[in-house]
Amino acid sequence: MTETLTGDAPVSRAAALPRHPPGDLAIWVFILAELLAFGVFFAVYAVTRMKNAALFDAMQPNLDRNAGAINTVLLLAGSWCVARSVDSIARDARPASVRWLGAAIACGGGFLVVKVFEYAAKFAAGINLATNDFYMFYLSLTFFHFMHVILGMAILIAVWIKARAGGYSAADHRGMETGAAYWHMVDLVWIILFPLVYVMR
């Protein structure tokens, strides 16, 4: 898990850096805790699904897979933009770095908009956490992730503001790496969540 994530770090600098994860170690403790929470959540989902396969199979087609797919693209694009942004600052290309970061925030915003429409349709149909086990997991997992996208965006916006003010440089951009690492985690979780809840049968 950790290796996948560090793989997202700016490739051009990887060889020159000492062997430690990019960004502040404190965020990695937090990321591991978050991944653990999501991991256990996924495991509980899997076990419950195994026990109620018929219900889950019957309910799954009701989910909006197109919305899910669009959101996957948005998050992947967002992650790529963040990686470009870190790469730019590493070359001291500050305006480019700020622009890439802005694009990443726009992708995150797009995710939230799509998700809100998806939720609106579900809530209009009277679905809530007590509807049945499938919807309980669907809403719990996607909502928990939705909140993480909001948190990730708050972090990216804070980094963006500091970047615009010239707060990062090729020599010191650890803060940006810290925010980027968190955003990649949010992306990674969705990449597992989407097939697990929307697609896999």
């Binding site: 404190a26 805790a33 653990l36 929470a37 256990v40 959540f41 509980v44 309980m136 997991f137």
Partner: protein, 458 residues
């Protein structure tokens, strides 16, 4: 002791230990009533003894926290306390209120106490751990606010350290969450739901901030490890605590009329709750191993390490044992809960209070550490009490497993009282272990009176 006003902590610590003794004595009465049903009946029925046992515990832990705050906040802020006079006045108000409440519990029927203390105006009494009359509850709020004012003013005018900030956050959280004790709707489900906002968000939320801050302070003092390192650990531990603990409240929402989704959310997040406790154990041992000085107060070091280990065992491991919804379905409201409660409270909050008392009392009495003879006695107290609580927990766990089996799982479920009779051997063993605990407590208290060669104050 670097600031004169730190000395106001002393009466708080002494009163806390006196209430600790009362708590244990009433615990022994209850333990005996488990096997000798009508012991002291009808003068001190079980529910009265239990009220004194649990309320004395809560009050003495709060007394200890306040004492700890008065001791460590000036030293951290590098300034005298805002108002030592206020601190002393609050001490007497709090002590007298607590004393009168206990006298009320023991001398008049609870229903009469409710009537004369104005429970009809705003019914808040008669809920577990929140049995205090309205007057006492209001008194707690007033004392807490005045105390927080005193501490906050001290911190504002002085150095702002991570330890002070975290402690202050914990103390404010404690006061704010207590306000939910005034909310008691007729709807039992809502009553129970928000009751846990006091009880759970205290012991698995804001109290852990207080615990972390006190432990961090003592570890800085006795190990000499850089403040920077210890403060980082502190932040990581309390982050993990609240990340898991806040939603972990859900493990109380399985069977009280609340929706089923809490079974999933509560199980997942409370399954992660042992992690911060494990981090705390690692933290304590790591810091002591990396110590840069040999502090003469070995007993305080032992208490600090003990807190790390016992909090992990009691709150972490014993909590995890029955926190998953499918397990809790069978163990909810049995002796398993009692087993967990005893070790968790002792391991986390009793021990952290005894840690700061062990560290601060000699300094307030004008020496860096007690004489070797006194410390050895104190350590005897440590081991007697700690080993006793481990065995009390094991015996209650055994009683709990038997109870769950006979009353909940077997094909022919046994009525409650019959199942209790089957477990009486374990209750006897628990009671005798409780006597050993009391001996440990007496030995511990005796260590305060043992003289011998003293080392000069640092």
């Amino acid at each position: 002791m670097q600031y004169k006003s730190q000395a106001v902590a002393k009466p708080y610590f002494i009163a806390a230990l006196a209430l600790f003794v009362a708590q244990i004595l009433f615990g022994l009465i209850m333990g005996l009533q488990y096997v000798w049903g009508d012991f002291l009946f009808p003068h001190i029925p079980f529910n009265v003894a239990r009220m004194v046992h649990t309320n004395a515990l809560i009050v003495w832990l709060l007394m200890g926290f306040m004492g700890a705050a008065y001791y460590l906040v000036p030293e951290e802020a590098e300034t005298e306390l805002h108002s030592p006079k206020l601190a002393i006045a609050l001490f007497w108000i709090f002590l007298v209120a607590a004393g009168l409440t206990v006298v009320g519990y023991l001398t008049v029927p609870y229903a009469t106490l409710a009537k004369v203390t104005g429970n009809d105006l705003l019914p808040t009494m008669g809920r577990e751990f929140l049995e205090q009359p309205l007057l006492t509850k209001a008194g707690i709020v007033v004392v807490a606010l005045a105390f927080l004012f005193n501490i906050t003013m001290t911190i504002l005018k002085g150095r702002k350290t991570a330890i002070n900030t975290v402690l202050l956050l914990g103390l404010w959280g404690l006061a704010v969450m207590f306000l939910f004790s005034f909310y008691n709707p007729d709807n039992l489900v809502k009553d129970k739901f928000y009751w846990w906002w006091v009880v759970h968000l205290w012991v698995e939320g804001v109290w852990e901030l207080i615990l972390g801050a006190i432990l961090a302070f003592v570890l800085i003092k006795i190990t000499g490890v850089d403040r920077e390192v210890i403060e980082k650990w502190l932040y990581v531990i309390i982050t993990l605590t609240l990340v898991t603990g806040i939603i972990g409240t859900g493990h109380h929402y399985y069977w009280i009329g609340t929706p089923e989704y809490w079974q999933v959310w509560g199980s997942i997040f409370s399954a992660l709750e042992p992690i911060p406790f494990f981090a705390m154990t690692l933290f304590a041992f790591n810091m002591v191993n990396r110590r840069r000085r040999e502090h003469p107060n070995k007993a305080a070091t032992l208490w600090a390490l003990g807190t790390g280990v016992m909090a992990f065992l009691g709150a972490g491991v014993w909590g995890f044992l029955h926190t998953l919804a499918p397990v809790n379905f069978y163990t909810h409201g049995t002796q398993i809960t009692a087993a967990h409660g005893h070790m968790a409270f002792y391991g986390a909050y009793v021990m952290v209070n005894l840690t700061i008392i062990s560290y601060a009392m000699p300094l307030m009495r004008g020496r860096a550490a007690n004489s070797n003879k006194s410390q050895v006695t104190e350590m005897w107290g440590f081991w007697l009490m700690t080993v006793s609580i481990v065995f009390i927990t094991l015996f209650l766990t055994a009683a709990g497993i038997l109870q769950v089996w006979l009353q909940r799982v077997s094909d022919n479920p046994m009525p409650f009282m019959m199942a209790q009779d089957q477990a009486s051997l374990f209750y006897w063993l628990r009671e005798w272990t409780g006597v050993v605990f009391l001996v440990g407590l007496v030995v511990y208290l005796a260590s305060f009176f043992i003289k011998g060669e003293e080392k000069a104050a640092a």
